[in-house]
């Protein structure tokens, strides 16, 4: 395998460059996936049937907490990738651990939020609005859950192998994924929660 040392670690081999490029294309597909969910949400959000509408079930506190947790985690993973490029494995791993913990906390709040919704009579089967709300949030939450496992696996591999072109590449791609989830959340926060609370 030819390693080009003039490039950052994650780009240093041909295979690495292909993987990063392919992942960007995958993110394009993910954008379409969430765009479809948002389009469906905007179609269905005032079709509440006999169930509650957004203003009745949304609470600012857990949502704000989730936003802070996820946005901070996006910042820390950025620091992690920066540390990786400086070759500082310990710092990189530290930032990744913080990122995953923040992600876990986010997920905890989201699960609490879902339980609250169901208690308030906004379950998956209540109305078209609650179905699409919980599906859109749930798809994002499922992505975060997968990301937690994925990030954990990468951490174990960095610990096992050190910072190699391979682990560097995986870490970088994971960071792209994580940032993407953050972007999706910004849309969820603005167009589902804030708009729904107005």
């Amino acid at each position: 395998m030819k390693i080009d040392h003039s490039l950052p670690l994650e780009y240093s081999t041909e295979e690495n460059r292909l993987k990063i490029f392919g992942f960007w294309i995958f993110l394009g597909a993910e954008i379409m996936l969430f765009a479809t969910l948002f389009a469906s949400y905007f179609t269905l959000y005032n079709r509440t049937g006999s169930g509650p509408n957004g203003a009745e079930i949304f609470h600012i506190t857990p949502v704000l907490l989730e936003t802070i947790l996820l946005l901070t985690s996006s910042f820390t993973i950025g620091l992690g990738v920066h540390a990786m490029r400086l070759g500082r494995q310990k710092a990189m791993m530290g930032f990744f651990v913080v990122t995953l913990l923040l992600g876990l906390a986010f997920l905890g709040v989201e699960i609490f939020e879902f339980v609250t919704y169901v208690h308030e009579g906004a379950g998956l089967q209540t109305s078209a609005f609650t179905s699409i709300l919980l599906t859109t949030l749930g798809t994002h939450g499922a992505h975060v859950t997968v990301g937690l496992f994925w990030g954990l696996y990468i951490l174990i591999q960095v610990k096992r192998d050190g910072l190699t072109p391979e682990t560097g590449n995986k870490s970088f791609i994971f960071s792209l994924y994580w940032h993407f989830l953050d972007v999706v959340w910004i849309f969820i926060f603005s167009f589902i929660y804030l708009k729904g609370m107005m």
Partner: protein, 644 residues
């Protein structure tokens, strides 16, 4: 016993029991044959675990041909039922199931794998690459598609087939039998495979071209594959979401497409066609690419209007996303929306027309040689244009109130899909057959096939335009004698039977050519123009011993005519990916997962979900650096292939 009742078929008939026996016997014969000839190891090592794009391509081809016959039998049964008025061959339910599976199988499990076969086999060779960008992912794509197709195909024997049409509109697609569950889940599994194919080929084409091959020097089929892949990546996630929502409605009682609690059945129709219309262009653009290659090869001329060919495909791909509502002009979205979608739909005729004229101008003053692939291509031009013209008729939203849901529509889309896609697949199959297998298909039988299919096609579908305008509704299992549709439907049946003979001739042609065709052919038997013909036949594992250097879009032709040199330099060791059984195993688990969901078997569903994640975890931790082919091995292979 109660547990097993769910697997019973709701509307049994002799035909279904007979196919169960036939399917069982075929399975036993295949297993016995593999055991008797001791081919299990060979099958596992050389095919099931392969990551070679050429072999994956051939597996796509085999699946597509199998599905062609499955869907073809459905078609013959439908035409036989409608051949005479008030026929009792099939009952209404059975007819519903058959037109549904015919549509799904032909579009998603025949045409899709057929075009992906061409993309797999041809594109890496055409751009001078050693494989696709992600060979292992490619294997996973194939096996997911295959398992999705198999899951869908067992539906008529286990639990009952879907019966709500290939569009599966809600609320018609209710959970009365498990048919709609099969539809949602089987297509989901296959669709994920297709999405990954799209990602794979965008990366391959944009990042792995031979030195010198700029974007505007790519062969036309590669261009078509690139644009198709882009459409796949942007259209298939919509299907993923729509199918997931449909599955949740059926299995978990959500309210997306229901009739009360705010549900909106039209949302399904919109989402379905936001995917479904680009899907049509996913099928036709690679077909256009194949025609471009064939017409330019057998006219012995460069393709006329290369840039406008590329431009028109880009335009078609953009327009394909803004026409979806023309599938339901009569469903009440109002005159304004209908007008917009009318105009965008008609606009597609412009770039398509540009392509037709470019092909005609390529033929103009060419030294035309009528081989079988060329015969298909020249039959395609007038027949497809006919379908295009009726498409513009259908695009007029006011007039569509007359055509909607009649046989006129059925005639139209078969008129574009059969001469457009199916002829391209058969032309391409004949064209690339020698590159795959080292001998040519018989030309005489091939030409007979082309003519039979064309005549059969005209007899089968032209009468439908007439009965459709007279008001014969599609998807009706019978009609009364007083309608007067009887004679024309009999003509359709005869046409369908002639087409069936044509398809049987293809099988005979393969059998005949395997036995009698000469093995002594060159690596470039058609005197073709692009890189795939510059390597040996059979193509070695690494495709090209030395990466070619390209100076034009007709790289090989310019070697022949302008003394270009493709292969400069010496052999170097070649890095190749390792085989892996994980894609196959993971897809088998996906099959079990899908089956469990179809029948709401929650415990197996949870276990298989965990199984899928275990496979992904193993992949994450696996260290697979591939292997190298040494210079010595390359020299040996090359001298052997050159000698042969």
């Amino acid at each position: 016993m109660e547990f097993f009742e769910r697997f019973a078929i709701p509307h049994p008939s002799i035909a279904i029991y007979a196919s169960m026996v036939a399917a069982g016997l075929t399975m036993i014969a295949v297993i016995a044959g593999l055991t008797y000839f001791k081919k299990w190891g060979y099958l596992w090592r050389e095919w099931i675990t392969t990551v070679d794009h050429k072999r994956i391509g051939i597996m796509y081809l085999i699946s597509a041909l199998l599905m062609l016959f499955r869907g073809g039998v459905d078609a013959i049964m439908m035409r036989a039922q409608l051949a005479v008025p008030e026929n009792k061959l099939l009952d209404a339910q059975h007819y519903n199931e058959i037109f549904t599976t015919h549509g799904v199988v032909m579009i998603l499990f025949m045409a899709m794998p057929f075009i992906i076969f061409f993309m797999n086999f041809v594109v890496p060779l055409q751009i001078g690459a050693r494989d696709v960008a992600f060979p292992r992912l490619n294997a996973l794509s194939f096996w997911l598609f295959f398992m999705g197709a198999m899951l869908f195909n067992i539906s008529f024997m286990v639990g009952g087939s879907p019966d709500a049409g290939w569009t599966s509109y809600f609320p018609l697609a209710d959970g009365e039998s498990v048919g709609s569950h099969y539809y949602m889940i089987a297509i989901q599994i296959a669709g994920i495979g297709t999405l990954m194919t799209g990602i794979n080929f965008i990366t391959t084409i944009l990042k792995m071209r031979a030195p010198g091959m700029t974007l505007m020097k790519m062969p036309m089929f590669t261009w078509a594959s690139l644009i198709t892949s882009v459409i796949i990546v942007f259209a298939f996630p919509v299907l993923t979401v729509a199918l997931a929502m449909g599955t949740m409605d059926l299995l978990f009682g959500t309210q997306f497409f229901t009739l009360d609690n705010g549900g909106m059945a039209m949302l399904w129709a919109n989402l379905f066609w936001v995917w479904g219309h680009p899907e049509v262009y996913i099928l036709i653009l690679p077909a256009f690419g194949i025609y471009s290659e064939i017409i330019s090869t057998f006219s012995r001329r460069n393709l006329y209007g290369y840039k406008s060919m590329v431009g028109s495909m880009v335009l078609i791909s953009l327009l394909s996303f803004v026409v979806w509502a023309h599938h339901f002009f009569t469903m009440g979205q109002g005159a304004f929306a209908n007008s917009i979608f009318s105009i965008t739909t008609m606009a597609i005729a412009v770039p398509t027309g540009v392509k037709i004229f470019n092909w005609l101008l390529t033929l103009w003053k060419g030294k035309i040689e009528f081989t079988t692939p060329m015969l298909y291509s020249t039959l395609f031009i007038p027949l497809f244009t006919l379908g295009g013209v009726t498409g513009v008729m259908l695009a007029m939203s006011a007039a569509d109130y007359q055509y909607h849901n009649t046989m006129f529509l059925v005639a139209h889309f078969h008129n574009v899909i059969i001469p457009g896609v199916v002829f391209a697949m058969l032309a391409g199959l004949t064209f690339y057959w020698p590159k795959m297998f080292g001998f040519m298909l018989n030309e005489k039988i091939g030409k007979w096939t082309a003519w039979l299919l064309s005549i059969g096609f005209l007899l089968a579908f032209m009468p439908m335009y007439v009965t459709g305008l007279d008001g014969q509704a599609r998807r009706m299992y019978t009609y009364s004698e007083s309608t007067g549709f009887g004679p024309l439907n009999m003509v359709s049946f005869i046409g369908a039977a002639i087409m069936a003979v044509g398809f049987v001739l293809i099988v005979y042609n393969i059998y005949y050519s395997v036995r009698y065709a000469s093995r002594d052919i060159s690596a470039d038997p058609w005197d073709a123009r692009t890189l795939e013909w510059a390597t040996h036949t059979p193509v070695p594992e690494y495709n090209f011993a030395i990466t070619p250097e390209v100076a034009s879009s007709e790289a090989l032709w310019d070697v022949k005519k302008k003394d270009h040199v493709l292969f400069k330099g010496d052999y170097e060791k070649i890095h190749m990916p390792n085989n892996s059984g994980v894609p196959f195993i993971m897809s088998c688990i996906f099959f079990a997962w899908g089956f469990s969901l179809v029948f709401s078997l929650w415990i197996p569903a949870i276990i298989t979900t965990i199984g899928i994640f275990v496979c992904m975890t193993l992949r994450s931790f696996e260290k697979d650096h591939g292997h190298y082919i040494s210079v010595k091995e390359i020299e040996d292979t090359e001298s052997e292939l050159r000698g042969a």
